[in-house]
Assembly symmetry: C2
Homo-oligomer: 152 residues x 2
Amino acid sequence: MDTSLKSTLHRRGLRMTPQRQLVLDAVRELGHATPEQICTQVQRAAPAVNITTVYRTLDLLEELRLVRHTHLGHGAPTYSERAHEHVHLVCHHCGAVSEAPTALMDELADRLREREDFELDVTHVALSGRCATCREADLKASQELGEKEARA
Amino acid sequence: MDTSLKSTLHRRGLRMTPQRQLVLDAVRELGHATPEQICTQVQRAAPAVNITTVYRTLDLLEELRLVRHTHLGHGAPTYSERAHEHVHLVCHHCGAVSEAPTALMDELADRLREREDFELDVTHVALSGRCATCREADLKASQELGEKEARA
DNA sequence: TTACATGCAAAGGGTTTGCATAACT
DNA sequence: AGTTATGCAAACCCTTTGCATGTAA
């Protein structure tokens, strides 16, 4: 079975277009990007492409399971290739997004299945917390505060 | 130390108002609710209250650590009492939201701290997946499909 | 009499929809 | 010809901001 985008579309009576290829390319190049970022990237090659088309194409590519979107918290979701599976870690202090292997979630997924009868989708929602850099900064700040109080 | 809302506000040079009490009451009554739902609830007691005030009050109550908000995926976040700590499980098929004990996440939190140097905030983001009801429906549907194919 | 709080209207980001046009098959 | 795809504008939801008015210390 031919699994190229073109034939996948054709099997559904849909057509391959330059726009669709460009959106898919942009998702692949950008890693995890918002619709707006994807649109900007696409427009570098084809300035006339409208953001509406980007939204429609992302929905389509998601249906075709070529991409997925993740909610990082506030604001627009980000889209990435389906093949690149990972957990997103978002620092809600500085906003930094990092990626971790999904294997980290295996045990949680098992427990949720057993105890809550819930089948976890590891990639759809990001985990929120405080990143290494901000934790270091916190530590330093509290040390300085300690010294200041010791002096006083 | 007096920890009532009124004195907490007073210590910051802020005032207690009927609106602020009503918003806090609504959050407590509704469990996890969007700003709009909270506004509707508040307006049952005081119809003139504006949604702007609800947003401002929710921000304030969050700063005071009396409430927290959680992103369930699409759409508006939901607010709940800070004291009610739990993990949110959202079914991305039917939209149902359930709650699970945060203890489920303890091991994941430990691993993230060790391996990724990331301090997880368990409550801020919901976990996404497929709930028990939808999983049963899936199972039933695939069984029926199997029977149909067997007949054909 | 000064600071804080509210309501209202308007603007802002992100997304969807309606519709006419254009491009395929 | 008939369907699918696009661009454009308008509408939509959710949230924030500016400003005038109101209210409490």
